[in-house]
């Protein structure tokens, strides 16, 4: 949570550009968890999600001239960077290997034993979900993941994907229709909601 008196992302971003690395660290502290969970839900791999989270911030920094803020916030734009990285990760794997060599901790530091079993269960469950969603076109998967799982508004998803708000709305609608049709054919119904909020049949804002 960002306190009322905390500087907006846009201010931190500018401070970082002016040479204050800690300001970029604060942005990482503020948004890395959200990006991490988004990356996991798109890949079903916690370890890969860690790498992707680091790369999202590094890539965000590399593309800092293109940054877009919404009400002073950078998160929707970071979602866009993450979406592109996830989409292109095989093509860019070689380029990113060098960056990851600098960004990733030593293997021993990855040991997060406390909830290891829960995380393995997450991976299995998420893999099943992704296998199911892959029946949809990639563009629809992006909109579903952003608007439903990450609970972005239509406007924020539009910024993330670089498309008009109307396109977000229509893709989400078509995605729901197609999923319903697929489920009807298989004799099932779909629940795409996050654990915290059952919004699949409601709407994003």
């Amino acid at each position: 949570l960002v306190g009322l008196n905390a500087p907006a992302d846009e201010q931190l971003w500018q401070r970082a550009r002016d040479g204050d690395r800690d300001a970029f660290g604060l942005l990482f502290d503020r948004h890395s968890r959200t990006i991490y969970n988004y990356c996991f839900r798109r890949t079903a791999d916690w370890s890969l999600a860690e790498d992707l989270t680091s790369l999202v911030f590094l890539e965000g920094w590399r593309r800092r001239d293109e940054v877009q803020f919404i009400d002073g916030g950078v998160l929707p734009w970071l979602f866009g960077v993450a979406t592109n990285l996830i989409r292109n990760r095989r093509r860019t794997a070689r380029r990113h290997r060098a960056a990851l060599a600098r960004l990733a901790p030593a293997e021993a530091e990855r040991d997060f034993a406390d909830d290891l079993l829960d995380r393995l269960a997450d991976q299995e469950q998420m893999q099943r979900v992704l296998d199911h969603l892959r029946r949809l076109p990639r563009a629809m998967q992006d909109v579903l993941a952003l608007c439903v799982w990450s609970e972005l508004s239509y406007g924020d998803a539009a910024i993330a994907l670089g498309i008009p708000v109307g396109t977000v709305r229509s893709r989400l609608s078509r995605a729901r229709t197609q999923l319903a049709e697929l489920e009807r054919r298989s004799g099932h119904e779909t629940d795409l909601s996050t654990p915290a909020s059952a919004t699949i049949h409601g709407g994003a804002r």
């Binding site: 502290d29 890395s32 060098a98 530091e109």
Partner: protein, 263 residues
């Protein structure tokens, strides 16, 4: 009902988060005016004329190459291209050469290589093989990230250029008359000339192949086959103006202001 709910949100493990944060902050460099290649995208009038002339020459030469089915038949075309490459790899006075590349080899480990060098090589800074070091004409400095320490030693002998500047080896090969243009090709979507050594060179080992852009003649890949082999894949080759901010890129102390100094 198919359960397509997303997984429960979790934290990045605390130790991993802290380590990644530290590494991320070490990897970024705040703005200092170094990101835009000078006169490459926004040339002044004189530079624009030169750029235009070069571009026209490049187009003409490319046509010659294309009409000869990817091979360079005319010695005149070969010589002209080699002259352009040599010129493009020469740092203009007052500018700072900046190269960034990924080095891969039989060690299978990818390494970042980055160089900043004044035109006369009187000051350089290199990140290579995991080390960050500099030479300013009288002292050699090396940064130890683990100890956050810069060690400075008096040294008036400049490092051997080929050991710090991969591209200079290409220029010296071209100037030695031992290089030839084999063909035109495409590297990562960029039209390129493929060069090779006509004879084993003191500068480049035999079997070396290099690729330079047909547009600005800057290196794209240098591929060594001998001595274990290594491939240098360029991400950046540019000339920066000699502003104080850019000159600071040559200084380890400026780049690691919190580091301790040791002599």
């Amino acid at each position: 009902m198919s359960d397509l709910r997303a997984s429960k949100a979790r934290d990045i493990p605390a130790r991993v988060q802290a380590e990644r944060r530290a590494r991320l902050l070490a990897a970024i460099r705040p703005d200092d005016g170094t990101r835009r290649p000078v006169a490459r995208w926004f040339p002044g009038p004189r530079a624009l004329m030169i750029t235009t002339a070069c571009a026209l020459s490049a187009v003409a030469l490319s046509l010659v190459l294309l009409l000869s089915a990817g091979r360079v038949a005319a010695p005149e075309a070969q010589a002209a291209i080699l002259r352009h490459i040599a010129a493009a790899l020469t740092t203009p006075p007052g500018m700072i050469l900046h190269e960034r590349a990924i080095v891969s080899g039989n060690a299978a480990e990818l390494r970042l290589y980055e160089l900043w060098a004044q035109a006369d090589m009187q000051r350089i800074r290199v990140i290579k093989s995991g080390r960050d070091f500099s030479w300013d004409g009288s002292t050699f400095a090396s940064y130890d990230a683990a100890a956050n320490t810069i060690t400075v030693k008096p040294n008036s002998q400049p490092p051997a250029r080929p050991t710090v500047d991969y591209a200079v080896t290409l220029r010296e090969l071209v100037e030695s008359g031992k290089a030839r243009i084999d063909r035109t090709t495409t590297i990562g979507g960029v039209a390129a000339y493929e060069l090779s050594a006509t004879a084993t060179s003191a500068v480049l080992p035999g079997g070396t192949t290099a690729y330079v852009s047909t547009t600005d003649y800057h290196p794209l890949i240098i591929d060594y086959r001998d001595n274990g082999g290594a491939t240098i894949t360029y991400q950046k080759y540019e000339y920066l103006p000699g502003t104080s901010a850019n000159l600071a890129l040559l200084s380890l102390a400026a780049q690691h202001p919190a580091a301790k100094l040791a002599h």
